[in-house]
């Protein structure tokens, strides 16, 4: 080994930290990715963890992983395969080996590779013999024992000592990629402000990990990933759920309304409720309801009083909210529903990602019950689409379902802090105070009714779930009136299309294949297409954020290309929706239902195959 370490510059790196769900891998990954972002890299992350809070220790089912992709160029996905795998035990190796690049690096805690753990992980004998490791650079580090050794005199119990072994691993990786340790140390100081012993312990273990790697020259060279060339501005790290919560806050501020969130904890949507509960400083009222139904019902009530009213949930919760959504359709009150999709049906895969709630969002209610459906496509643009969902709900007096996904909710990336002055105005159609009020009188162009809220003199009125006469607002069972109202509600939603941006395509105007996606698959689709275009293929991407109504130019764009391939993490719900709306075109499909995001490699294969047929 050289005395001097070489420094090698590389474009991008994927690291996966993995261990038992109690090993602190999420924190380790977050600290590493934040450090990288602060360093100026573009970053994308993907946490992958079991639904159980403390899944059986040492088993493959209990493995918690956190993947970080960082680089000098633009990063659109958390990466398929990793350059470095940190495996804190045999189960972590077993669960993740297939995600390691053939020439990758694996760092293991040798202390955890004892017979008991090896058997628990499902290996027959020595995993280092069972896995095909040729080509892999295996770094065997006695992480647990060195952590113990580092802290033997510090005065902590054995359990607490071992809990900081993740920081030893972080130290090793930090050296390998030339990352400064300040951010992590700052974090310890804040997090353990009242426990100085833990600050000392974590800092010491982190530094010892770093020096260990340096001393043994863990790898013959250390890597340097230069800062990315990013547009000027102030940046911060943001994940999808925080971005969603903040987008709603920004919309409330712009509209001059107070924000109300009625919600019930559900994975992976809960952190939206948590974030907004903490935002009382901005006047938010959150109501942790007794169930999903009360979550949306309290929001519905708040909407009646003139608030920007929101409820957040995931698939099973959306199912429970459907009756009240119908009431909001019928009474034409603004209501934003955030549906952070997870694997289904039923309880399904609570912590995994999927796009299979689309039909539920579009049609999962009794009667003809049209509403607006939208989808965010990156962690940070959850902010923009939450803002737009609120704007459309308020200005068009309608419920809006914004679909995000587990993959966006927990994934994070650097985000240039936006200038809110550049965001469009939000002007709810409040009834003029000095004019007579009729609740179902509609604007002739938009078919939107006016909003009068309790407390306004002379605008007293009753809303309800029964069909009504638009002239008087009174209950009506007249057949023709029902038909008229059903069509009016449908047409009102169709006319929202006038207020949404046209669908844009990325890639080649004269592409041989149009790739179609919606929601969280954007980063993977774009990366796959960019990479294949570099190989000379002619491809274009049409990615949908507005689903109902569809952008007005959708049909025209679909017709512009010879072939269409719809890629989704479900069995083809959006493809079928397009077939229904534009039956004149044939659609090919690429679908995965693994509870995981696409891999760029799989997408590239699918695209190549579809070009051949």
């Amino acid at each position: 080994m050289d005395k001097h370490t070489k420094v090698i510059e590389i474009e991008e790196v994927v690291i996966r930290f993995s261990g038992d769900s109690g090993d602190g891998m999420q924190l380790t990954g977050t600290l590493f990715s934040d450090t990288s972002a602060l360093f100026g890299n573009d970053v994308a992350t993907f946490p992958d963890y079991p639904a159980e809070i403390r899944a059986p220790q040492g088993t493959v089912g209990g493995v918690s992983g956190f993947q970080v992709h960082f680089g000098h160029s633009q990063i659109n996905t958390p990466g398929d395969y990793c350059d470095v795998l940190v495996a804190m035990n045999p189960a972590a190796l077993k669960a993740n080996f297939r995600w390691v690049k053939p020439d990758g690096i694996i760092i293991i805690d040798t202390d955890a590779f004892v017979e008991k753990n090896i058997i628990k992980a499902g290996y027959k004998e020595d995993p280092l013999k069972e896995e095909p490791l040729n080509g892999i650079n295996l770094i065997k580090a006695p992480i647990s024992s060195m952590t113990r050794e580092s802290l033997k005199d510090i005065g902590l119990d054995q359990k607490s000592i071992l809990r900081s072994k993740n920081m030893f691993a972080l130290g090793i990786v930090s050296w390998m990629f030339d990352r400064p340790l300040e951010h992590a140390i700052k974090f310890f100081n804040k997090k353990f402000a009242n426990k100085p012993l833990l600050i000392e312990a974590n800092t010491k273990v982190l530094r010892n990990g770093y020096h260990y790697a340096e001393t043994i020259k863990a790898i013959a060279f250390n890597y340097k990933v230069r800062p990315a060339e990013i547009t000027k501005g102030t940046y911060r790290i943001i994940n999808g759920n925080t971005a969603t919560a903040w987008g709603l806050l920004a919309a409330a501020e712009k509209a001059g309304l107070k924000l109300f969130l009625g919600s019930y904890p559900i994975t992976p949507a809960t952190s939206i409720l948590e974030e907004l509960a903490a935002r009382k400083d901005l006047g938010v009222k959150t109501f942790q309801a007794e169930d999903e139904i009360a979550g949306i019902c309290t929001s519905f009530g708040a909407s009646f009083t003139g608030h920007l009213a929101v409820t957040s949930t995931s698939g099973p919760g959306l199912a429970l909210k459907s009756e009240t959504l119908g009431l909001a359709v019928m009474t034409e009150l603004p209501l934003v529903v955030i549906n952070v999709q997870r694997g289904g049906p039923s309880t399904g895969l609570p912590t995994k990602t999927e796009q299979a709630d689309l039909m539920q969002a579009l049609y999962g209610r009794n009667g003809e019950s049209p509403l607006v459906v939208m989808a965010a496509s990156t962690p940070s643009n959850c902010f923009d689409y939450a803002y737009m969902a609120a704007k459309i709900a308020l200005e068009h007096m309608t419920p809006v379902i914004l679909m995000t996904e587990g993959f966006l909710a927990n994934g994070s990336e650097p985000w240039k802090i936006p200038d809110l002055d550049t965001y469009p105005e939000i002007k709810p159609p409040f009834a003029p105070k000095d004019q007579p009020y009729s609740p179902y009188e509609k604007d002739p162009d938009t078919l939107v009714r006016k909003w009068a809220v309790p407390g306004t003199p002379d605008h007293e009125h009753r809303l309800g779930g029964l069909e009504k006469d638009p002239a008087t607002g009174g209950v009506s069972y007249t057949p023709e009136i029902h038909e008229f109202m059903v069509k009016a509600r449908e047409e009102k939603i169709n006319r929202v299309a006038k207020d949404i941006p046209p669908l844009a395509i990325e890639g080649d105007e004269d592409a041989d294949l149009l790739i179609i996606g919606w929601g969280a698959t954007y980063g993977h689709l774009l990366t796959a297409i960019d990479s294949l275009r570099k190989e000379g293929l002619k491809l274009a991407l049409a990615h949908f954020n507005y689903i109902r109504p569809l952008p007005e130019n959708s049909g025209e764009i679909l017709g512009r290309f010879k072939k269409r391939l719809v890629c989704e993490n479900n069995l083809g719900q959006f493809a079928n929706y397009l077939r229904m709306n534009f039956p004149e075109y044939p659609y090919h499909q690429f679908n995965k239902i693994l509870g995981l995001p696409f891999t760029v490699e799989d997408l590239k294969d699918a695209i190549r195959k579809n070009l051949e047929v």
């Binding site: 501005g233 009222k285 009213a309 809110l420 007293e460």
Partner: protein, 339 residues
């Protein structure tokens, strides 16, 4: 709250034709509410009625205030949202035994637990009227209905037992045919800070006629009910010759004058005490062993109720926090400059 004296009951009446069956107990409750509204001190536009589904839930259409005729069982949850969002409103929930205690049972108990400052009028006719006569969660064992042709085998709920058992702060009971008492109770419910539950024993002439007749028929009503008044001894009877005492930790009926019993031996009603044990016993009294308790049975003002506590908490946090607007929030915590 403002003092508004000039409003009259007619001012709260809407122009809608009232569609309840002739003779339905709901009519009398409506007029008792219309009489109470001018006296609760709220402006017309600050009153909101929220109902669920059922015969009584048509109610909001007949009062000329803000209102929502919502969906089955959810009125308590929707009204909680209305009140929490805007605590300046006087918010009333109109519900029935099926709406509040079957499909909406969860929202009902949680409304009571949170003590949101709402006024709930629970029309208890012990039957599903709108769906034409099926037994409800308050129907007595053995009730023969279309869905219990051989008699029900389910034990009924008592709304008072649930409300007080769930640590409710206010429970009162009235009878549809006693509109003056109803009006008084509705005014008390409005004054109470917290969730006020008022059970109205209501007659459904079509599907469950005379369900409460044992106690409500005028000829013997006064001997079978007791109207409780805070601070007054528990006396009842046409001749005001009967009373309630506590004996072996149980409430017993005694005759004044017999065995040397005088008014001084009787229980004195304390609706405002925190201790709910006696309130629960009073609310659960049944004819024929006891008179059925009417009036305000429990009215305990907690130091604070949900909507007020939330408003206070928001204000406190706003005073302390450095984050005053979105811009502050966006730039809070770890950020970095790219130059």
């Amino acid at each position: 709250m403002q003092e508004v004296t000039q409003l009259k009951p007619e001012d709260f009446k809407s122009d809608q034709i009232v569609r309840w069956c002739p003779g339905c107990g709901d009519h009398a409750v409506l007029s008792a509410v219309l009489k109470a509204l001018p006296q609760i001190g709220y402006k017309h536009e600050d009153v909101v009625f929220i109902s669920g589904i059922g015969c009584s839930s048509r109610f909001p259409y007949y009062v000329n205030t803000y209102g929502i005729h919502s969906i089955h069982g959810r009125a308590a949850a929707i009204a909680s949202g209305v009140k929490v969002a805007n605590p300046n409103l006087s918010v009333w929930v109109i519900t029935g035994d099926g709406d509040a205690l079957a499909i909406g049972g969860n929202h009902f108990i949680h409304l009571v637990r949170r003590d949101v400052d709402l006024n709930v009028i629970l029309f208890n006719n012990r039957i599903y009227g709108l769906t034409k006569g099926q037994y409800s969660p308050t129907s007595e064992i053995g009730t023969v209905t279309k869905t219990s042709p051989f008699g029900t085998i389910e034990r009924p709920f008592k709304p008072g037992g649930i409300a007080i058992g769930a640590n409710g702060s206010f429970f009162a009971r009235t009878i549809d045919s006693m509109p003056k008492l109803s009006t008084e109770i509705f005014i008390e419910a409005s004054k109470h800070n917290g969730a006020s539950i008022v059970e109205v024993l209501q007659n459904c002439v079509i599907f469950n006629d005379r369900t409460w007749a044992d106690i409500t028929d005028r000829q013997f009503r006064d001997d079978r009910v007791i109207v409780l008044k805070h601070g007054e001894p528990m006396i009842f009877g046409k001749e005001r010759d009967k009373g309630l005492i506590l004996k072996n930790s149980q409430i017993s009926v005694v005759k004044l004058g017999e065995n040397g019993i005088t008014e001084k031996d009787l229980l004195v009603h304390d609706a405002q005490t925190e201790y709910a044990g006696l309130h629960l016993s009073l609310a659960n009294m049944e004819y024929p062993t006891h008179p059925v308790a009417l009036g305000v049975i429990r009215s305990y003002n907690l130091p604070t109720h949900y909507d007020q506590a939330l408003t206070d908490q928001v204000r406190e946090v706003q005073q302390k926090s450095k984050i005053k607007n979105m811009k502050d929030l966006l730039h809070s915590g770890a950020t970095w400059e790219v130059k």
